[in-house]
Amino acid sequence: MNQTKMTIRDLNLWYGDFQALHGMDLEIPENEVTAFIGPSGCGKSTFIKTLNRMNDLVQGCRIEGNVQLDGENIYSHRYDVNNLRKRVGMVFQQPNPFPKSIYDNIAYGPRTHGIRDKQQLDQIVEESLKKAAIWDEVKDHLDRNALSISGGQQQRICIARALAIQPEVLLMDEPTSALDPISTAKIEELVTQLKEDYTIVMVTHNMQQASRVSDKTAFFLNGYIVEHGDTRKIFTNPEHEQTENYISGRFG
């Protein structure tokens, strides 16, 4: 049993008057893949964004409760949000590389955190691209604009970019929903490799994907976590009827 990396306690979130998340409780174990499943609009994406405080950018968003990273509350006033995001990286649904060269995309994070040395940057770029399994495809044209490569490659560039700041946790918000099956398979394979070094949290619409790659699964419905636990158990022997209905495709 792995140690707990993040702990969420009684988390409530409002957009204006609308309460999007209700009393969330969850532990995210280290070096495992935790998947969030559930129908559209159930709060998965909102929830994953609370883990690196991306919701701070949303106007009218109010959060109560407690999210701990290694036992420290990330919503405490003293907590430095930029440092949090350095430790908790994120990959988005749509590949969103900067309109810069591939090299500059990967080097953006390290440069942000003060690394200027060319040799060191070269090394980080190479390592990150290798970890994201895209080094062989792009090594000969690192100076090309990152927007000129395919969507699947762009998403792996985004993963490499997130890895370049050496995060401890990697959040992935439906990372394959905009990609073709082959790119999806590559990214799923990548996720299984990455969990050796990182704690991974992943939102997915695709139930097979959750069952293939995740160790733990949480099922969301209407802003509540209905059930969470070992992926195998959730998919074979769920405790709640709603979970079973969703997994067997009866709604959602």
Partner: protein, 289 residues
């Protein structure tokens, strides 16, 4: 019987539809022809009337009533445009940044500033001219001078630059900003290294449009910059821009041919500015490294 009536009506509506679509197409073509035709006509007219009178003496260093040289005005135009942009660009661009990136949307100050820029943009330029005359020329005692003209031009083009900066920044998508924030970058770094390069072409074209506006301006400058024929020697001496020069020449009625020649130079000037703007924004948006 009922079926026959209904087929008749459909036939009828079809005919009306065809007719109206033909009519609309005709209108569209006609408008295109009128627009393009009038532009072509104006340019040809100016060229035909002006080109024969472009002589070396028009470009002599000093203006006299004999050579009616436009060189001092040409240089004054460059000076006025340069100085105005030097002042208006930073103020306008930073205001745009404030409105989009820093101020809360829906905040009262933002609404007030937006309303002020919209209103300023709609004010006729003669009003700027009168304001400039009353405030800079008379009240502050700057006289008819480069500084009065420049400050008036600054107020005039500020809304243009603010608007284009705002639009350019708003067109930069949220996903790019999120990517930067998610990597632990602060607001300043995100704005300068991610947002600004993407928004640059838009901001730049706003600045260039502003310079075009100043080049073509007469009413706002006539009572602030004055109409002295000499090249200004310092900020507090008067001068005239090309457009003003042309206006004065034609209103005096003594040098109509030279006024036409000046018009040619002015048109070329404006075309060069427009071409430069297109070229730069294309180049910048393509490069974007």
């Amino acid at each position: 019987m009922p079926t026959e009536t209904s087929t008749l009506t459909t036939q009828k509506t079809r005919n009306t539809k065809q007719l109206s679509s033909k009519l609309i197409r005709l209108l569209v073509y006609l408008s295109a022809v009128v627009t393009f035709g009038s532009l072509l006509f104006i340019i040809l007219f100016i060229l035909v009337r002006g080109v024969p009178y472009i002589t070396p003496s028009l470009f002599e260093w000093n203006y006299t009533t004999d050579n009616v040289s436009l060189l001092p005005s040409l240089l004054t135009t460059l000076i006025v445009v340069g100085l105005s942009l030097l002042i208006a660009t930073p103020i306008g661009v930073f205001t745009g940044f404030y409105l989009v990136e820093y101020a809360d949307r829906g905040n009262k100050i933002v609404k007030a500033i937006s309303m002020a820029t919209d209103t300023l943009a709609a004010v006729p330029s003669i009003v700027y001219g009168l304001f400039g005359m009353l405030f800079f020329v008379t009240f502050l005692g700057f006289q008819y001078s480069v500084i009065s003209g420049v400050l008036t031009a600054v107020i005039m083009v500020l809304p243009l630059i603010i608007r284009s900066t705002e639009e350019a920044l708003l067109s930069v998508g949220m996903p790019l900003r999120q990517a930067s924030f998610a990597l632990g970058a602060g607001k300043l770094r995100t704005i300068f290294t991610v947002v600004l390069p993407v928004a640059m072409p838009g901001i730049l074209s706003g600045v260039i449009l502003a310079s075009g506006r100043i080049v073509g301006e007469t009413a706002a400058l006539m009572y602030t910059l004055g109409t002295s024929t000499n090249l200004p020697t310092d900020l507090f001496s008067s001068g005239r821009t090309l457009a003003l020069h042309m206006y004065v020449l034609s209103s005096e009625g003594l040098h109509v041919n030279e006024a036409n020649a000046t018009a040619v130079v002015l048109v070329v000037f404006v075309l060069v500015i427009n071409a430069l703007s297109t070229y730069l924004s294309k180049r910048l948006s393509k490069g974007g490294k």
